[in-house]
């Protein structure tokens, strides 16, 4: 067992357990906290894949920003914290069947394709290459993304404003 295998097993167990917590926790606030754990565990997967920059972005944007916004939304829309009705609807069996079918189809496709060899090591630090790609080859999409973010957040601000 190499260090990468051990790390992958630990991160995978944490990620799967916290993901199940996200969808199964009866209290929505707990579900958001599980989501924070799942997002940090995904950051761990990025670290294993030698994408340290992605790990930083994941922690800053997702685990920091998105989780905070979600907590605010729950506090604004839940009338009684801690006590409420069942969080799952009547389609729980159907939902489980559909998601299991999707997983079996995807995994069945993945394990039949060749690719059992270990991933090749990445030479050097990829962050420099990412920065160069963002202002070089992908500069157009990057600027478009900035416009999209401003438009989406202005739209969100407009929607959520109070009338007075």
């Amino acid at each position: 067992m190499t260090a990468e295998t051990v790390g992958f097993c630990v991160v995978a167990v944490v990620l799967i357990a916290s993901s199940l917590g996200v969808v199964l926790a009866p209290n929505l606030f707990h579900a958001v906290l599980f989501l924070a754990v799942a997002l940090v565990a995904t950051g761990g997967v990025f670290l294993l894949l030698d994408a340290a920059f992605l790990f930083g972005v994941q922690l800053l944007l997702y685990a920091g920003g998105v989780v905070t916004v979600l907590v605010f939304a729950i506090m604004l829309t839940e009338r009684i914290v801690g006590q409420r009705l069942s969080q799952t609807n009547r389609h729980i069996v159907n939902g489980a069947l559909v998601s299991a079918a999707v997983f079996v189809a995807l995994a069945g496709f993945l394990v039949r394709r060749p690719g059992g060899a270990a991933l090749p090591a990445v030479p050097g630090d990829a962050t420099v290459a990412i920065g160069t790609a963002l202002v070089g080859r992908y500069a157009g999409p990057f600027e478009l993304l900035a416009v999209l973010l401003v438009a989406a957040l202005l739209g969100a601000l407009y929607l959520a404003r109070t009338e007075d």
Binding site: A31, A51, G65, Q87, N94, V102
Partner: protein
């Protein structure tokens, strides 16, 4: 680790997120499921970036993260508006658009 391990992990998280989207009553809960599904896709992008030694996968994962942030902002704004109008965000009771 072979890339298949990462891809199967991504598929599993995607399926769990799909289960959350399908079964949650609360609109915020549905958004949580969508977060998980988008997150699973990022694992695949990072894994293929590592496999091919190409930063394009990482760049696309960055784009996905930024778009997810925009999606969460807008989605939660819509949830707050719906709550203000209907006093509930139970997705089973949201039928304003029913013809």
């Amino acid at each position: 680790m072979p890339i298949t391990a990462y891809l199967v992990l991504g598929a599993l998280v995607f399926a769990i997120g799909l289960f959350g989207v399908l079964t949650r009553r609360n609109a915020v809960g549905i958004l949580l499921g969508i977060e998980l599904m988008l997150n699973a896709v990022n694992i695949n992008l990072a894994a293929f970036a590592r496999l091919h030694g190409d930063v394009a996968g990482v760049v696309f994962a960055l784009f996905t993260i930024a778009i997810t942030v925009a999606e969460v902002g807008l989605g939660l704004a819509i949830v707050i508006v719906i709550f203000r109008v209907r006093r509930t965000i139970d997705a089973d009771h949201l039928n304003l658009l029913r013809g």
